[in-house]
């Protein structure tokens, strides 16, 4: 039996669910306690010892259904039925000494099943950049210091890009749904419903950090001066208070078809925290930047006045149609912005150039520029010099990429030209990724 369980644990590890030796021992002891006579109990025993997160439990259930499917009744669906049923479910698992082959858990989408030669290749400069930063080489690439990626299995961080793959997470978790996938309005609504919870989590974390920073660092010189003068009774530890410096924030948001959904969700997540900034401007762009600050503010006020609910307009089916505040969807909000043509092909170069020439270009040491976009310019001139010029006028630049890191710089993406001019790049393919982006934003406010 132990040999069979061992193979199961090895397969789980290969699939990305890593169990430590201690957990593996717990699993064996748990099975020893409940026996293998009752399939459901056997599953629960293994699961509580080996899967310690909700997402892991979902992976575990799929793996269990495959691995311990009844002989002759293989396959995920059949395995699930066998696991879930109460009355008609088989009482025991298949013999653990003869497990069926477990297909590798598909955590990275269908594209990763292609032969390696067909894997999308990154532009060489971006590939080297990402590999170095992910390997923790303490060296800047241009201005870029840091890339925030989704947590992955350690084996996928070998610095070779073919191993850096998206991990879209289990299908049921709205916070891990790939925002670029095919999603109906209902799906978007389900994802948007998770936003308040994430906001609460971010607020809790940021409050802790703020408190710590308010407490200040130890002021050593004054420690001696103050304590020597009074003989060390009571012993005081003076701290150096941080000067409060509130930033101006400029959000430059790509709202083309492929990124509008991520844009809407990000703005919902971030607006709560942007009140801490001195002021915030929101610029939307597809091929030119348009100021949407007033519209955004009134959209968010509508939520407070009348609550969220289904969109009133019929036929509103574009990305962002399920992200609704006060009866108005995000897609309607951006669709009604004068000067913004949503159907135009994305042209980052033109948008950056136009912004640089305009009087409303972001500038100032206390200005924080956040760009949300995939950098796909439809093979137009990226005009990265314009972005470099804009970035050089700002105190800090963050770039949120709503695309898996494996695709950065592939095809018509010009991220390789843009990212060296940002301070931090964040991979944000799902709601959790966007929340990480908000975390990075708050840290710099």
């Amino acid at each position: 039996m132990i040999a069979g369980l061992e193979r199961f644990v090895v397969e789980l590890r290969r699939a990305g669910l890593s169990a430590s030796p201690a957990e593996w021992i717990d699993a064996v002891r748990a099975v020893d306690e409940v026996g293998v006579g009752d399939r459901e109990r056997f599953r629960v025993a293994l699961r509580c010892a080996l899967a310690k997160r909700v997402a892991q439990q979902r992976l575990f259930d799929e793996a269990f259904a495959r691995f311990f499917s009844t002989p002759g009744r293989g396959g995920v669906e059949r395995g699930r039925r066998a696991t879930a049923g109460a009355g008609g479910a088989p009482r025991g698992p298949a013999p653990v000494d003869a497990p069926r082959a477990l297909p590798r858990l598909d955590r990275s989408g269908p594209s990763d099943r292609r032969p390696r030669s067909e894997m999308p290749r990154l532009q060489p400069d971006l590939q080297a950049l990402v590999a170095r930063l992910l390997d923790g080489v303490p060296r800047r690439v241009g201005r870029l210091r840091h890339i925030v990626v989704e947590p992955r299995h350690p084996s996928s961080r070998e610095g070779r890009m073919e191993h850096v793959r998206a991990a879209p997470g289990p299908p049921g978790d709205p916070r891990r749904r790939d925002l670029r996938g095919r999603l109906a309005s209902e799906d978007e609504r389900e994802i948007a419903a998770e936003v308040p919870r994430l906001v609460e989590r971010i607020r809790l974390r940021s409050a802790r950090r703020t408190r710590r920073s308010l407490r200040g660092t130890l002021y050593l010189r004054r420690v001696f001066r103050e304590n020597v003068s009074r003989g060390g009774v009571p012993f005081v530890l003076p701290r150096r208070r941080r000067r409060s410096r509130r930033s101006r924030v400029v959000l430059l948001v790509d709202v083309s078809w492929s990124t509008a959904r991520a844009a809407g969700l990000f703005l919902l997540l971030a607006h709560e925290f942007l009140r801490r900034a001195r002021d915030t401007r929101t610029l939307f762009f597809v091929d030119r930047a348009v100021d949407g600050t007033t519209r955004m503010a009134s959209w968010l006020r509508r939520e407070a006045a009348s609550g969220s609910g289904p969109a009133r307009e019929r036929g509103d089916r574009g990305p962002g149609s399920g992200i609704v505040r006060g009866g108005v969807s995000f897609s309607r909000l951006i669709g009604g912005l004068p000067g913004l043509v949503l159907d135009a092909p994305s042209d980052y170069g033109r948008a950056f150039d136009g912004l640089l020439r305009s009087t409303s270009r972001p500038s100032g040491r206390d200005t924080l520029l956040l760009v949300l976009g995939d950098g796909r310019t439809n093979r137009f001139d990226p005009q990265d010099w314009a972005f470099e010029e804009i970035a050089s006028r700002c105190g800090a630049v963050l770039w949120l990429v709503p695309e898996s890191i494996a695709r950065w710089g592939t095809g018509d993406s010009a991220l390789g030209a843009y990212l060296p001019h940002a301070d931090v790049a964040v991979e944000a393919t799902d709601l959790e990724g966007l929340a990480r982006g908000v975390g990075e934003l708050i840290r710099r406010l």
Partner: protein, 305 residues
């Protein structure tokens, strides 16, 4: 239930049922394993699904004392483990002043007086002056104890790291007294609302159970067991209504406790069905947020259908 022969998941289910709690097979099996493997159990899930209740009932089932440590931001060792009773130390120092003076009376100089007092000072840092907080109380208890570390996700990460020693070895270290090891390791249950990610180290030391909202049939059984006076049809309607609300985008989704409160409220006003006036009068028991209330009241016709 604690007799080895009768201890089984079925026995746990039955014991919980006696206390009016419908435990699923999954909950019962995990509790059974936590007991047999002598491992802490981490219960994670949304608020209001009965995680804390499981801890309380686990203590009741074992006829054990429940020691509860409610976690919050800023919780530290002094509030969770022990404190020196400063007032008591001062009082004793005052009372023993003459004795202390006699001890050092014939000392030729300050250094000699200090040497004499050195051994005596330790008396003020003995167990007599120790104020045990929940963790130490659970470890030093002579009776069976269930230690409930509630909402551990609210505590700081530093405190989480501090808990590791308690969870893995059932011991705590006090600098003045050394390491105190539990003669009878307490049963430990931790709960988390998943408001922040707990560390891998903590998870590794525990068995894990995610307690989710119950499905329709399960919630029906729970309401039946907790509010037996409610009519079957009304019970079904209210559970269906609650389940629909949980699927919608509310700021605070109703938990099981809220469903039970609502059922009690409906019984209290003598409601026979989910009529609009009855809903308007009692919905405050189910929804605890003004925006949610307004939204649901607006959507009432759709939700009732």
């Amino acid at each position: 239930m604690s007799a080895p022969g009768s201890f089984s998941p079925e026995a746990i289910e039955a014991a919980f049922r006696e206390h009016g709690f419908v435990a699923t097979g999954q909950v019962a099996t995990t509790l059974f394993l936590a007991e047999r493997l002598a491992k802490p159990l981490l219960l994670e899930g949304p608020p209001g699904v009965g995680k804390t209740e499981i801890g309380k009932l686990w203590a009741a089932c074992h006829d054990a004392e429940l020691v509860r440590l409610q976690c919050y931001e800023g919780l530290d060792e002094a509030k969770a483990l022990y404190e020196w009773s400063y007032g008591k130390q001062m009082l004793y120092a005052q009372l023993l002043r003459e004795k202390t003076a006699a001890l050092v009376a014939d000392a030729p100089d300050l250094a000699a007086a200090m040497r004499r007092l050195r051994g005596q000072a330790d008396e003020f840092f003995s167990r007599d002056f120790l104020l045990p907080r929940p963790l130490l109380a659970a470890i030093t208890a002579t009776r069976p104890v269930v230690l409930l570390v509630d909402e551990v996700d609210r505590a700081d990460e530093e405190f989480e790291a501090f808990l590791l020693e308690v969870l893995s070895d059932s011991q705590v270290s006090i600098p003045e007294l050394g390491t105190i090891r539990a003669a009878r390791p307490p049963r430990v249950i931790l709960t988390s609302n998943d408001s922040r990610e707990l560390s891998d180290a903590l998870r590794r030391r525990c068995l894990y159970l995610f307690v989710d909202y119950p499905d329709f049939d399960e919630e029906l059984r729970i309401v039946e067991s907790r509010v037996p006076q409610i009519e079957r049809k009304l019970r079904e309607h209210l559970v269906r209504f609650t389940q629909t609300l949980r699927r919608s985008s509310l700021r605070k989704r109703p938990g099981i406790a809220e469903t039970i409160d609502w059922a009690l409220a409906l019984v209290a006003i003598g409601a026979e069905g989910l009529s609009e006036p009855a809903l308007r009068r009692t919905l405050g028991a189910l929804l605890k947020n003004r925006e949610d209330l307004e939204r649901v009241l607006q959507d009432l016709p759709r939700l009732r259908s």
